[in-house]
Amino acid sequence: MVLAADDTLRLDASAVDYGLVLAYFAVVLLIGFAARRRVSDSLDFFLSGRSLPAWVTGLAFISANLGAVEIIGMSANGAQFGMATFHYFWIGAVPAMLFLGVVMMPFYYGSKVRSVPEFMRRRFGTGAHLVNALSFALAQVLIAGINLYLLATIVNALLGWPLWISLILAAAIVLTYITLGGLSAAIYNEVLQFFVIIAALLPLTLIGLHRVGGVSGLIDKVTASPGGDEQLQSWPGTGLSAIGNPVLSVIGIVFGLGFVLSFGYWTTNFVEVQRAMATKSLSAARSTPVIGSFPKMFIPFIVIVPGMIAAVLVSSIRDAKAAGETVDYNNSILLLIRDVLPNGLLGVAIAGLLAAFMAGMAANISAFNTVFSYDLWQQYVKKDRPDGYYLKVGRLATVGATVVAIFTALIASQYTNLMDYLQTLFGFFNAPLFATFILGMFWKRMTPTAGWTGLVSGTAAAVFVYVLSKTGTIGITGQGASFVAAGAAFVVDIAVSVVVSMVTTPKPVAELAGLVYSETPKEQRTDPDAHLLSWYRSPTKLAGLSLVLVVILNVIFR
């Protein structure tokens, strides 16, 4: 068990720290309570959106994703691989967010597609829908396990209880949060959470830099560390991808991480997409991911850099890395918090981390709940029952999924770098989904049979690559293996879909309106008032600016 080695990770929280944590949760629960009671028009306005200011939806958009993965995973990656981790932001997330805003959003906004399973059902019928709903439900429970494990790590670091008791306590906290209505004010909480996390991570980074002697001190210390100079260069990223050949490594990062994994994540993640749809016009919806891309491109400085600082400043990581032992990189940022934040700021940091992990897990659980009750149970098990029946199924599913997450958290606890695990899951589930989604959306000839066979064969290809890498048949491990698996899943999915489409019958074109790009009327995809907007409200011009900035960042930190 990984945590056994971490007896030293103890956050020495004082009464003031606990007070700051409690203040945060009091605010969140009060908002949740008010939201469920619908106490005010103003609150309704903030929940249902429709004319929310763009900065609110833009921040909610990235905050929904600034969870466990971002904070723990990216800092772990920074500690292990150094600057190559920047690719997740500047090759991965930002271009994918711009693609979502510029290319995909008009289609989503104009068509009646509101979730991925719904798209699958209407575009391909029950076969693809069932495969997608099952794999989505499984993915949510596995990812909920990651969030729960991280939540338990913090409980463990605060109270010193063993992993399994911490897990049960963490699960109870999440259930309480869901039951008390924490999720009914999701957009609202996400914006608040964003500021608390920045308030914790920015001082952490600055004090950490001060402790290592500023930027030059960090450069000297990283150069002298086992990773050496290579950790200060983002290309060709052979450490990150674990692909020895530099050219293949670049291809793996650009195609596997940049194109398949990131575009797949951002275009098919409807929890994100719906943040953007809570705006008043198509232009505002398109602007949401574009506006979000600006803060997003600077987030690596407060998550990856602290990881790099932790690797040279925190003695247990530094020594283990120097001795070539296995290091549990997941704890990097927690160890840095322990070592540099005084009581007071410590409380802000704990509040921010607990909030992010809890909200992340609650979102996974309730996404599972929705898919389980409506897409699986209502569709395939018991049809035509009253609404109350499905609500009851939903509540049971929430409790069931939380219990199962305790066990999937144990799987997550086996990984010394959670990004390895998470990217593997994305390769299995997101990469084939993205292939089927994008092909089905732009190619009207694609048939219902191709829909589900493509998904199944894509996932099978990713699992096959994963097994090959685990058994050592191909010499690629870690995140490089997930990039390759994702690439394989994408290519196999497309190939199988095209071949199967050739020999099976497509749906009549009349049924594809709003589901296939070419069959969706242009009026639905364009904003009549777009030309009236000033340049800083125009999504395409803003996207251009964002792209220029991210290219500059890529060049400076190459």
Partner: protein, 113 residues
């Protein structure tokens, strides 16, 4: 701006708020941000003044991190409060009521609604 239903003379209380715009006030997300970050800023500033001991010095490398972070947070809170005052978000209750129930959050709460 009156709607057809408001034109009927005897709806009384109902007509008084329908169609009239008011600001989001306490439920504007900026109020909550200013409140919480301001509270954190106050607590940290006080911690920085009264509890800047050797243990804290050793952790931060002789920078009074609580004090400085606290001051910055108070400034951020004041900026949000000013922004809130100068540019209030205006809510039209009629539209909110018409749209209540659709487009709420991410759909994840649909099973709890």
């Amino acid at each position: 701006m009156s709607t057809g239903s408001n034109a009927t003379p005897d709806v009384g209380a109902n007509a008084s708020d329908a169609g009239r715009k008011h600001t989001a006030g306490a439920y504007d997300v900026r109020t909550v941000i200013a409140g919480l970050i301001g509270l954190y800023g106050l607590v940290l500033t006080i911690m920085g003044i009264v509890d800047y001991d050797d243990a804290a010095r050793a952790k931060t490398g002789d920078v009074n991190a609580n004090l400085w972070s606290g001051i910055v947070m108070i400034v951020v809170a004041v900026v949000f409060a000013l922004w809130l005052r100068l540019r209030p978000v205006v809510v039209d209750p009629a539209t909110v009521r018409a749209e209540a129930g659709e487009g709420t959050s991410d759909g994840s709460d649909s099973a709890h609604a």
